[in-house]
Symmetry: C2
Subunit: 236 residues, 2 copies
Amino acid sequence: MLMQSPRVMAGRAFTPPSLTSAQLTSGFEQKLAHGVLRRIECRELLFAEGDPASHVYRIETGAIALNKVLADGRRQVIGFAYPGDLIGLGIEGEHVMNAQAVKPTRVRCLPVSALRQCIAEDPALGVKLYEALARELAATRDLMLTTGQRSAVERVASFLLAFSRRNRRIAQDPTSFELPMTRTDIGDFLGLTIETVSRTFSKLKQLGLIELPCSNRVKLLDIEPLQNLADGEHKP
Amino acid sequence: MLMQSPRVMAGRAFTPPSLTSAQLTSGFEQKLAHGVLRRIECRELLFAEGDPASHVYRIETGAIALNKVLADGRRQVIGFAYPGDLIGLGIEGEHVMNAQAVKPTRVRCLPVSALRQCIAEDPALGVKLYEALARELAATRDLMLTTGQRSAVERVASFLLAFSRRNRRIAQDPTSFELPMTRTDIGDFLGLTIETVSRTFSKLKQLGLIELPCSNRVKLLDIEPLQNLADGEHKP
DNA sequence: CGGAACATTGACCCATGTCAAGTGTCGTGG
DNA sequence: CCACGACACTTGACATGGGTCAATGTTCCG
């Protein structure tokens, strides 16, 4: 097949599929600060596919998994949202995904009517939301490339490196972090079973690339070979 | 695991990941009509990942595959665009995907500056573009659910049914159509190899669900069982 | 007519899924 | 404070769907 030259490297997969509200305007920030604070239990749904999309939410603490479910229960996690992220944007009307807390979580709620008012007051906000949506689309496509084409090690390595990058971005330790979600969540995100996720973690541990002090805490010992694994530099 | 009830059925995967410009305003339509018409050879790239996003394009005839490539050549097709679809929307700056013609194709080109002018003249257009992007995001997520969780038969059946639906929407025969793309394109779209795609087509033929008069023409003989296959009603 | 590109089919293999048996770890109640 | 149960995670043995490699057909176009 006539293939275009692979000019672009793997790309930054797993950019969080949600808008960090830090980028937004102060009027919006003010409205949000007055919004209702809602507490969500671990595993509780903030909203479900088909629910009327009445609000947008900003995560204050905790973590949310955005997912879709097939009739027989197979589940695809589309992305995770962390403190600062804004979720519930998109088409007016109905939510198209479930938003499930993976740990006890607090969110600020903003009615879409208030959001609309914000946009009317500050048209630049509309542009920012458009751009945020575009970035989210780009992130989802990167994830597709990963779940569609990569092997288990590549997927897990990419996943860990995404955490590392996120931590660097928010000025926290990029080599050691807590995974707020379960193996099931990770598996459903990467399109793998929990067993494969677990085995792959063990493999990376054996290779001396990571440490697992406890099951939900990861220390990256050597980022470069991890990056090579993620980029598929082990096949040829 | 505490699973939410699977209240939502499989969803309409594979809604074309691009905007049909029919929904747009007449001012926009006028500008487009004056836009340059460009011819693209089969397999030629309309734009590549990393190119400056100077224009948006509307497909007039032919078909385009939007894809991303890993460093080692593995390719993920994110979606296909057909006549009437608008592509190149999204983040300003650089294209984040390749757009490759899967057959000889003609597109109308509109500079993003002109698009911006249209939006200034008609703010409602901005909203429509936002909604279009949101629909595209929803479609991409549906595709993720498919490539991440479904088996080969399920993927191929879904793919064919998406064609059927599209044809119904544009008032053409929903039971018989031409596949403009190669097996490689289909495979890279569904996350399968060409051999698996081919074998799966053969299997559906043996099951009496489809006919393949020639390799790029499909006739759906019995849609309902095909839908059941797509929805995974064969496992239990 | 001939060759290139695409598609099909078969044989085999391997990565990952499945099933099952442990092993932590945490929270609760005695 | 400990014992217990629930749940999450790990690990092993085995099964299998789909990938890989290779041979053959088919179609289309020069």
